[in-house]
Amino acid sequence: MKRQVWAVITVIALVSTGAAACGGGSKKTTGTSSGGSSSAKYNAAVDSVVNASDTKGGTLTFGNSDDFDSTDGGNTYYAYSLNFNRLYERPLTTYAPKTGAAGLQAVPDLAQGLGTPSNGMRTWTFKLRPNLKYEDGTPIKAADVKYAIARTFDRGILGNGPSYFAHLCVDAATYKGPYKDKNINDFKCVDAPDDTTVVIKFKDPFPDMNLLVAFPQTAPVPQAKDTGAQYALHPISSGPYKWQGNFQPKVGGTLVRNTNWDPASDPIRKALPEKIVYKAGMQENEIDQELINGTLDVDIAGTGVKTAARQQILSNAKLKANADDPVAGFHWFLPINTQIVTNVNCRKAMIDGVDRDAMWRAYGGDIGGQLATSIMPPAVAGRQPSNIFPVKAGDTGDQAKAKADLQACNKPNGFSATMIYRSDRDKEKAVAQAVQQSLAKVGIQLSLKGYPSGGYTGSNAGSPDFMKKNNVAIATYGWAADWPTGYGYLEPLTDGAAIVNSGNSNVEMLNDPAINQLWKQVVTVADENQRNAIYNQIDQKVLEQAAIMPNVYAKSLLYRSPKLTNVFFQEQWGMYDYTALGKTQ
């Protein structure tokens, strides 16, 4: 009897505890931390500035579940790192601090104006703003920009960042970087004829130079202070903030004001916070919960909250008012290997027969993504949607049309091949299963193989040998533009000249002479609108070839703390603009 009484008491206690835990929100839900302000509403920051303010002060805290690939502007590629880097480094240009398509335009930063082209857009001249200084008060000179670009040629030391300069410069084939070649005058790509003039010389016409130099590879680096691979421990600031002491990789650091930064020289940055704290290696759930509770200001990754927090936010009206769900810049598409599925009608059968609805739901439905039509996502300037493979909500595939396509390619009973995906990404696995199941209905048998994401783009999908040896017909993939033009997005994906043996982005192995010719032609066109028309034409041609299966333009459910000021979604970064943020006291 005694045992039964205790058992009942224990059960009651457990149930009560569970009920208390599951029901209701946090006790820390005070008005300012998790309630929406009167002006806040869902998606407010997508096309307007929320909590506009010029009030200075406060400490802004960023959290990261991972860490920067590097704080050295010459050695970084992550989108959030490029966004954050502008707090302490100033490249020649940057992206306009504006919402919508206006944010895809380059504006001068370290330079006082956009570059002036000459020599058929092979040469670009930039004039620096006068009297700029580093954090230690020493002057910033054009020679420092030359040195900054030169050091990125040593890919063994600085291998993380983009390699455009190392490939496109006039001496790309011969120059080894200043660590191996001690005479900086041997670097012919960049001239600094005086302290404020930077001249960049490419082998071929390059109309997107104003966007390319927005990479912090052009942020000045004083040669005397360069410590090579260890420069990331304390990059010398040319921006409104500087690192306090050394940055601690995998742990974090603090940015404090750079008193030698001249606000009058910088129309881009408001520099409102007094201090900026960055914490690396935080647990993902902790980041989301601290954002909601107001003890953390920004999730620096900018890819949105995770599943548990997503449900919490969307089911709570007050929290939802502080959330934004913009289209973020990535297109998660599926390249179809033209060397394995050689007939265009067979490829069309795959696109016509696939269950687009299931693939879209795998990414979270309306919250996770937007059904894609063109290859270029909306974040590419001048991009037009396509009607070649129209799609609408609920589209589970047109089996009749797919079977007709298979008839046309002389495979009425279908064919067998392999599909690969990233095994540690649940969404890609779900997409692969949806593709496999829907195409099986028309006779296309795909065997699925998953590979870790770490080596996927280098050694699996990115290796033509691997793709051929393993009979891989289709792969999950994704791409965001390095800069928001058709060239920045499409060229690595569709130009035959871009095919490489490792890290290949033209996964479909498309080597179409007509498309290749368009790529050669477009770089000679000076007018932006005419170039955009050609990019859209290339996009259409690739779809006509059925070389890429469109899928989903990714969306990110971002949560903005009500304490933040000047919050807006910046199209190029695909997240909030970090240089604009301030904080209420």
């Binding site: 006790k27 890919r155 063994g156 291998g159 960042g161 390699s163 935080m282 902790e286 490792s502 890290g503």
Partner: protein, 336 residues
């Protein structure tokens, strides 16, 4: 005793050499056995879509183009006599013992390990104090009150504690105590010399989480040991001689029970000092465990070797201390 200690320390050196060799072998040979090429390994340290020239440059910089035995020789030479590190812009001297530089952060591994160690030590030492006091006390009381409600409740709770993984109890405690109920506010770790109060505050949840698991284990072990010892003849004799019960329990029964507890404690503490991985990751603490995980996930060989050797050293030293303490606890033991 001095000879014993010296012999054990020399054994530790040999053990560290073996461990470093095994770690090298695991890092290089296992992936090759799975078909990974040198280019694929180098691609892990390059940015998006690296070309062949970048991969070759990385292979040369990190020594992937050399045979594994040569790379190992270079590493051991650095440990014994020191080495040099080329940052590109300058060459730095790395005095012995040089454990190399991280492939990812380009920081000296030895310095990184020394910077991270206090975090792990703080977690392990604090939790050890809590679990020893709680575990042994509860175990003794349970043994003395065998069959009572206290005994059943505490052993039942201990069973739960032993069964639940740390990442579960840690996340649970954090979710409810901090995020849902708001009765605890987790603070960032700072060193004890910087702010002892914040240092302790930042460690309370990790201590409790870690101690819950180990206290449960130690309570069960202590109870079992006490029950066994309390039936011994010498305990009956001590009572018959009229010794106070407290003296019988503490000085005679518990002392005999502690010997196996000490053995396990040495192993547990040594392993924790090498990195309380799950606890550190759950509470976002930057100790050796988090460093080890990051090193493995990011294929950062120098860090992996450095942390592994540090962990092994702590296990050896912890067991050495335990062996010495045996002689104190149990007069029958003589160190030979």
């Amino acid at each position: 005793m001095i000879a014993f200690i010296i012999r054990r320390l020399l054994t530790a050196v040999l053990l560290l050499v073996i461990i470093s060799a095994v770690t090298f072998a695991i890092f290089f040979l296992l992936p090759r056995a799975a078909g990974m090429t040198t280019d694929q390994l180098a691609a892990r340290f390059a940015g998006k879509a690296p070309d062949k020239a970048t991969l070759l440059a990385i292979e040369k910089r990190y020594g992937f183009d050399k045979p594994v035995p040569v790379q190992y020789y270079d590493f051991m030479r650095g440990v014994v006599v020191g080495g040099k590190y080329d940052t590109g812009a300058r060459v730095i001297d790395c005095p012995a013992p040089c454990l190399g530089y991280s492939f990812r952060t380009n920081e000296p591994v030895l310095q990184t390990v020394l910077n991270r160690a206090p975090v792990t030590f703080s977690i392990a030492a604090g939790a050890a104090v809590v679990w020893l006091i709680a575990g042994i006390s509860i175990g003794v009381l349970s043994a003395l009150r065998k069959g009572t409600f206290f005994d059943r409740f505490s052993m039942g709770t201990a069973l739960v504690g032993v069964s639940l993984p740390i990442f579960f109890t840690g996340l649970l405690s954090q979710t409810f105590l901090e995020f849902k109920w708001g009765i605890w506010s987790q603070q960032d770790y700072v060193s004890i010399t910087q702010d002892p109060v914040q240092w302790a505050h930042s460690l309370v949840l990790p201590w409790i989480t870690l101690a819950f698991l180990y206290a449960a284990l130690y309570a069960r072990l202590t109870r079992a040991g006490m029950l066994d010892t309390m039936t011994e003849d010498y305990i009956r004799t001590a009572r018959a001689k009229g010794l106070p019960e407290r003296t019988v329990i503490v000085r005679h029964a518990l002392r005999a029970t502690l010997t196996p507890i000490l053995t396990i404690f040495g192993l547990d503490l040594g392993l924790l000092l090498g990195g309380a991985v799950l606890t550190e990751k759950t509470f976002s603490m930057h100790g050796l465990g988090a460093l080890a995980i990051d090193g493995v996930v990011q294929s950062d060989l120098p860090v992996v070797v450095g942390v592994t050797m540090a962990g092994a050293l702590f296990v050896v030293l912890a067991n050495l201390v335990v062996d010495v303490l045996y002689a104190v606890v149990d007069p029958r033991v003589r160190l030979e």
